[in-house]
């Protein structure tokens, strides 16, 4: 077994370098490189290992050398972190056998080491349908490994703001994290808009109504609802700052957290279970001009959200 090499990251010369780069537009590798301290990243099972999916050939689909996820270790502000970044543009960032196993192994290592937090840069449509059973089991194993890591005292922070959102089983993994940061572009949901429309009709959910999609599943709603702990601007710098804050403040995990989460979710159902739309929920939370929320720029939105509801850091 050879010593792992540092994998140099690409520098897209036509994109402004530095952390003002947009999160949404960046590739997984760009996010990793720019999020972490310069030159600190060491990749585990990098692309040169060519651990590709064995299951795409039968569908005549091309593979990617890293199977759509970059995992490894680096530093943020000098402190070590483990990190996994999904590439949302490869197969929709979906979980396949190899892709999922890389994250499972990382979380199991974090569980055993105990002292290094994990950042998961979600960008996923959920299970990769060409490998549906393997993808689903990978997600189940990831959830188990994540809870084991949290039980060992590890903070697992999810960052959500990419093109594919955080859908399906990805949404369940996100719900297992210690804390979540989401940007305006981020979406978190179990069923996607098209799937709801296909199954229940356009009256139930018009998947082409982008404003509806974002009110229901998007980053601002998740922050206001309490489905995410922090709202980030769509820049690497903002996600970096937020990640550092959440590593600091995220709760230890145990029975108390689960009880508090049960109470938090029961209260949510009581307060908002009859609301027809996010606008109604935001109004009920005391937002005076709920209709204006979608257009609010990030800084103003963050100030508003902090007034409405500060996340309890012990109920996720």
């Amino acid at each position: 077994m050879s010593i792992p090499k540092k994998c140099e990251m690409p520098d897209m010369s036509h994109v402004a370098s530095g952390r003002s780069v947009g999160w949404y537009e960046a590739s997984a590798r760009q996010r990793v490189r720019l999020l972490l301290d310069a030159g600190s990243f060491e990749e585990f099972i990098g692309p040169e290992q060519r651990e590709i999916s064995p299951h795409l050939k039968v569908f005549d689909l091309p593979t990617q050398f890293d199977d759509g996820i970059v995992v490894g270790r680096g530093r943020i502000a000098g402190a070590p972190v483990f990190l996994a970044a999904q590439e949302g543009r490869f197969m929709g960032g979906a979980f396949g056998e190899v892709h999922g196993a890389k994250l499972t192994g990382l979380l199991r290592a974090a569980r055993d080491i105990k002292s290094v937090p994990v950042l998961i840069l979600f960008d996923t449509g959920g299970v990769r349908l060409q490998e549906a059973n393997a993808g689903e089991l990978a997600i189940a194993e990831i959830m188990r490994a994540l809870v084991e890591a949290r039980m060992a005292g590890v903070k697992v922070i999810g960052l959500i703001g990419g093109r594919a959102g955080c859908y399906g089983g990805g949404g369940l993994i996100a719900g297992c994290c210690s804390a979540l940061a989401v940007s305006e572009q981020g979406r978190i949901s179990v069923s996607g808009p098209e799937v709801i429309e296909t199954n229940r009709g356009v009256e139930e959910f018009d998947s082409r109504d982008r404003a509806l999609v974002w009110r229901t599943m998007g980053g601002k709603h998740r922050r206001l609802l309490g489905g995410a702990d922090a709202f980030s601007d769509d820049t690497i710098q903002s996600f970096r700052d937020t990640a550092l804050q959440l590593i600091e403040s995220a709760p230890a995990f145990g029975a108390g957290v689960l009880k508090a989460e049960q109470a938090r979710l029961e209260e949510r159902l009581q307060r908002f279970g009859a609301c027809a739309d996010a606008i109604d929920i935001w109004s009920a939370e005391g937002v005076s001009d709920a209709q204006a929320v979608p257009a609010l720029p990030a800084e103003q939105f963050i100030a508003l959200a902090d007034k409405v509801w500060r996340p309890r850091h012990d109920a996720r």
Binding site: K5, C7, E8, M9, P10, D11, M12, S13, S27, R29, A38, G39, G46, P47, E48, K57, D60, L61, P62, T63, Q64, F65, E87, R89, F90
Partner: protein, 105 residues
Amino acid sequence: METLSYRHKAQERAAGSKSLAIIGVVASGNLEVMVERVLPDTECQVDINTAAEGFAAVWEAVVADFVERRSTGGLKLSINDGGARPDTVALRLAQAVRLIEEDER
């Protein structure tokens, strides 16, 4: 799926000392190029995996042009192609070489 491979004599060794670089994403109209410094300085190889069959002649031409314009000695370039146009391929090949010639960070 089609697999193609082209080996060329290189005019010049690719500058720098980095041994690995990668650019691009496997998606519709896009491709990833991984470049490894693993060959003798006078050799360059380009391996391609593509779902778009029947374009060998185009690949051959793009690769030949690339090898002629750039210093590619010592480099093995491995491509996973999602159906990119020739100009996108040429761009990624050039980006890949520029990356591996960069200083270590």
